[in-house]
Symmetry: C2
Subunit: 330 residues, 2 copies
C-alpha cells in the first residue's frame, strides 16, 4: 500500500454473524496485529458497535500501535447497505437496523472508514492479493449457506446506485426450481448452495445411498457441513459426489452466462465448500461454464480456487479503504 505519513496503517474488519475479526496491516500490507471476537448480535446494536470498536483497539494493541496510527478502516458487512451514507440497513442474524457504522468509526478513530459488502471485500482481496491479481475483470463466486457474488471491473467493484450488486446467487439456474430464501424460485442459491446440497444429501442418506454421511452427520441438514460432504465423498458415497457435481455444474452454467456479459479473465471460487473440495468443484464449474459461454470468450477466462481463504475479506476491506483514500473519495 502506497500511502506514506504518520498514519500509515490500515485496518481491515470482517463483521460476521457469529464472529468478528480485526486485522491491522502496515503500509506494505503485512499483518502486524489481529483480534478475533464472537459477535454476540443478540446483545443489541449499542453493545455490538462498542464491541467492534474494542476489537479494533485490541488489534491495535496487539500491533503495539495507537489509534492515531490508522490511515483508514475498511469493514466487510453482511446484509443490505447504504454505501454512500455508510449505513448497515438490515443485518441478518444480528437483528441490527440502520446502524451508521461508518460515521461512528470515523469519529472514534479519527480517520476515513468505508463499509462494503463482505463478499465484495473477499473478491477485492482476491483481486488485489490472491487468485485474480491483475485481472481486467474478476468475478467471484462464494457458495456457502447462500451463494455470494462480486465483480471487480477495471479495479472497481460493481455496485448498485446505493448498495452492493452482482447477486449471482439469485440468477435463475433451474426454471420452476425450488423456493429460494428471496421469495422466488429456481435461483442458483436454492439449488447449489451448501444448504441445498446438504438437503439433497440428507435425502440420499434417508434412502440408504450415503452410508458414510449418515454415520457421521445423520440427516439433520444443519449438521451436514462442507467437511462432512468432502469426507463422505472420499469414503465412497457416490450419491453425495453426484449431488455436489450437479450443484457445481449448475454454478458453472450460471457463471457461463455471467462470462457472456462481463467477459472476465478470471472467475474465482471461494468459501467453505470450495475449500473442502477445490479440484472437484473448480473442474466441474469450469467445464459447465465453458459449455455455456460464447466461443469468442471461451478461451479468454480461467476458473480458479480462491487463494486467501478467510483472510480475503479483511485484506480486501483494508485495501479498498486504502484505494478510496488514494483516489480522494474519503
Amino acid at each position: 500500500m502506497a500511502k506514506r505519513s504518520t498514519k500509515k496503517h490500515w485496518v481491515g474488519f470482517d463483521l460476521g454473524g457469529t464472529k468478528m475479526l480485526a486485522v491491522v496491516f502496515d503500509a506494505d500490507c503485512k499483518v502486524v496485529g489481529k483480534r478475533r471476537r464472537r459477535t454476540k448480535g443478540q446483545d443489541g446494536v449499542e453493545a455490538g458497535v462498542a464491541r467492534i470498536v474494542a476489537t479494533i483497539d485490541e488489534a491495535l494493541t496487539d500491533a503495539k500501535l495507537t489509534r492515531d496510527a490508522v490511515a483508514g478502516i475498511g469493514i466487510g458487512c453482511p446484509g443490505p447497505l447504504d454505501l454512500d451514507k455508510g449505513i448497515l440497513l438490515d443485518t441478518p442474524n444480528l437483528g441490527w437496523r440502520d446502524v451508521p457504522l461508518r460515521d461512528t468509526l470515523q469519529d472514534t478513530f479519527g480517520c476515513p472508514a468505508f463499509i462494503m459488502n463482505d463478499v465484495d471485500s473477499g473478491v477485492y482481496g482476491e483481486f488485489r492479493f490472491g487468485a485474480a491479481q491483475g485481472a481486467h475483470c474478476a468475478v467471484g463466486v462464494f457458495p456457502g449457506t447462500g451463494i455470494g457474488g462480486g465483480c471487480v471491473y477495471e479495479g472497481k467493484l460493481i455496485r448498485s446506485k446505493t448498495g452492493s450488486a452482482f447477486e449471482i446467487g439469485h440468477m435463475q439456474a433451474v426454471p420452476d426450481g425450488p423456493l429460494c430464501g428471496c421469495g422466488r424460485t429456481g435461483c442458483l442459491e436454492a439449488v447449489a448452495s451448501r444448504l441445498a446440497i446438504a438437503s439433497a444429501a440428507a435425502v440420499a442418506a434417508y434412502r440408504g445411498e450415503a452410508p458414510h454421511l449418515l454415520k457421521e452427520a445423520g440427516m439433520d441438514v444443519s449438521n451436514i457441513r462442507s467437511g462432512t460432504l468432502a469426507r463422505a465423498i472420499k469414503a465412497g458415497d457416490q450419491a453425495v459426489e453426484h449431488i455436489v457435481r450437479r450443484a457445481a455444474r449448475l454454478i458453472g452454467s450460471v457463471v457461463g452466462d455471467v462470462v457472456n456479459l462481463m467477459a472476465p479473465d478470471v472467475v474465482v471460487l471461494g468459501g467453505g465448500l470450495v475449500e473442502a473440495m477445490p479440484k472437484l468443484i473448480v473442474d466441474e464449474v469450469r467445464l459447465a461454464a465453458r459449455e455455456r459461454t460464447m466461443p469468442v470468450f471461451r478461451k479468454a477466462f480461467d476458473v480458479r480456487a480462491a487463494a486467501l481463504g478467510d483472510d480475503a475479506s479483511v485484506l480486501g476491506a483494508a485495501a479498498w479503504a486504502e484505494a478510496q483514500v488514494g483516489s480522494g473519495k474519503a
Copy 2:
C-alpha cells in the same frame, strides 16, 4: 461537448452491412452535416475503406467544413473488434478481415479515431442524449435479426480485455432450446430475435392462424419484418401477438437476471422490433424482468424504449470519441 480549439467538430460514423452513415456534430452536439451511402462490402476492403473516407469528406462538405476542423472520429462497427489496436477482425456481411480502420482514419484526417461495437455506440448514445441520461448504470437491449446488448457503467462501456462484451443475446433463455447462430442452443437470440419471431409467425401463417400476416408477407421469414408483425397484430392476428409477447417475456426474463447482477437504473430497449411495437414490448419486458429480479432491485430500475432511433449510434460514437479525447486516451 466540451472540447474547445480550432478543431471543435466531431464525426460519428455508423458502418452497417448495407449502408453507412457519417454525421458531423458541432461542439454543442448539433448536427451540422450528414452523408449516407450504401456500404457495398462485396467491392472489397480497399474500396470499402475509400468509401468510408469519401463519405466522411462529403459529410464535412455538407457542413461546409474541411478535414482540419475535426477533433475526433468515432465509428460504430459490426463484428468482433480489437479495440486497443483499432482493428476490425471479421466483419459479417462485408467479408472484411483484419482492417486497421482506426489508424487509416487517424492518418487520413489527422485526428484521433476510435472504433467501437455498433450496439455499444447505440447504448452510449442513449446514455448521453436519450432514454438513459444520467444513469449510474444503463443496460441496452436491441432485438433485431439478432439481439445486441451493451452496458454503460459509471460512464464507461463494459468491454472485454480486447473487444466488446455484454452479449445478452447469447445468455440462456430456454434450456435445450433451438440452435443459435453461435453454435449453442437456447440463447435468447435464438428464441426472441426478429428472426425467431418471424419463423414462429410463418408457422402460424402456414397453420392458417395468421391470415393478415399471410396475406401481406407470405411464409418467407425474410419477408416478415418488424412492420409486418405490427400490422398483423393491429389487424387482429392473435397468434402473432402471442408470439411477440412470448418473445418479449423471454427477453424480460433474461433482463431480470442482468438486473440481479448490474442493478442498472435504466434498461433501454431499441431496434426495429421495439420501434414498431414499443408499448407492447416494453410493458411485457418490464413485467417479466420484475418477476425475475430480487426484491431489493425490483423498484430501482425502469424499462424504457430508446429515444434516438437510428441517430443513437452516430451520436454515441461521436460522444465516445469526445469522451476518450477528453480523458486523454487518444
